[in-house]
């Protein structure tokens, strides 16, 4: 990897980390989930700084570096998407339960309102 390529990759990784930190600070990403994104950028830096890992892997597996890189990136993306999907699924269950609770509570409120109206009417008649 040439020096210019290295500088470019380091700058990109650094920019991604800064972007994540800014997003966390601005509450655009929850602190709870930020670790995954930071891990992802760390993965980028490791791959950039340790070309040796790639070279060794490529020699061992007898596959071109680019293919290993694509494979590693695919795995990283897959884990990221899977993690996000788990979070979404959790929210879907919570949203469903909330919507059901709203429906049940609305019915209860309606019932109570009717009872209150009836009581008011009875009271007025007595007065």
């Amino acid at each position: 990897m040439t020096l210019i390529q290295k500088i470019l990759f380091y700058t990109l990784s650094a920019l991604i980390i800064i972007l994540i930190l800014v997003l966390v600070r601005k509450k655009k990403i929850r602190e709870n989930d930020s670790w995954l994104w930071l891990l992802f950028s760390l993965f980028l830096i490791i791959i950039t700084s340790n070309v040796l890992i790639l070279t060794k892997l490529s020699d061992y597996l007898k596959v071109a570096k680019s293919i290993i890189l694509i494979f590693l990136a695919s795995i990283a993306f897959f884990i990221l998407i899977l993690w996000l999907y788990i979070i979404i699924s959790n929210y879907q269950t919570k949203i469903k339960n909330l919507a059901q609770k709203i429906a049940l509570l609305e019915e209860k409120i309606e019932k109570l309102n009717k009872r209150l109206d009836k009581n008011d009417k009875n009271l007025n008649e007595k007065v």
Partner: protein, 245 residues
């Protein structure tokens, strides 16, 4: 004995009133609960005017979730027997008293209304017929009991099943064959009740469309497969009830 009739409804303002009136004519003793699943028409007010209790979802959650809201209401309000039926006119309310009577007098927890137990005039598409046959056969093989209509939405349920139905194990997409397997695994007794059903006059079935049918079959097969893995995996914990699933 408190009896509830649960009807999930989505954009059924034209048919819901007629159905509720029919049920009320059979007996005033039944509490009709309509779950308006985010309809954009006047389903809720039509049901309310007909004398039903209406539970309105703020947005569309799907058939299974609508049913589950009804179960939650029935559990909170201590109903003893719950009959669930569709709002699209496929299910005739005339069977309700018989179904309730069977549940009240016999050792059965879930009674499924079956179109195929006896020969009836029910007509549907070949794909749907094959789907029903496939899932009924799979269910029968797994629970070791002949089930002829595993996808029927017309069912009567005893109150003791409700805690299971409101748990997170309940399949909120299409609760059909997979739910029957879960119920059997958890020790609930299932039987079928022969009845006539009618095709949906407005053809608004939730399984309408080729892609929806494919998705349904795929989803159900995966669901049953996952269920079998869980059941085998957790076999030793069978007494721990449904929470292990």
């Amino acid at each position: 004995m408190k009896k509830a009739i649960i009807i999930p409804a989505f954009n059924e303002e034209k048919r819901i009133q007629k159905l509720i009136n029919k049920i009320k004519l059979i007996s005033e003793d039944y509490e009709v609960i309509v779950i308006d699943d985010g309809s954009i028409d006047n389903t809720a007010s039509a049901a309310l005017n007909a004398g039903a209790v209406v539970l309105s979802h703020p947005f569309n959650l799907g058939y299974g979730s609508a049913l589950q809201t009804g179960y939650k209401y029935a559990l909170e309000n201590y109903f003893d027997i719950i009959v669930q039926m569709d709002a699209d006119g496929q299910h005739d309310p005339k069977y309700i008293p018989q179904m309730i009577n069977i549940l009240a007098t016999q050792d059965i927890d879930v009674l499924i209304g079956s179109r195929f137990k006896n020969k009836t005039n029910y007509k549907t598409t070949l794909v749907r017929k094959l789907g029903i046959k496939l899932f009924s056969t799979i269910t029968s093989l797994i629970i070791k009991k002949k089930i002829t209509d595993a996808t029927s939405g017309y069912q009567a349920i005893k109150a003791k099943v409700l805690p299971f139905l409101v748990s997170e194990s309940f399949p909120s997409d299409y609760p059909d064959a997979d739910l029957l397997i879960m119920l059997d695994y958890n020790g609930f007794k299932i039987e079928e009740f022969a009845m006539e059903m009618y095709p949906d006059s407005q053809n608004k079935s939730m399984h309408k469309g080729f892609l929806k049918n494919i998705y349904y079959i795929f989803k159900m097969l995966i669901s049953i497969f996952l269920l079998l893995i869980s059941i085998n995996f957790f076999k030793k914990n069978k007494n721990n009830n449904w929470k292990v699933l």
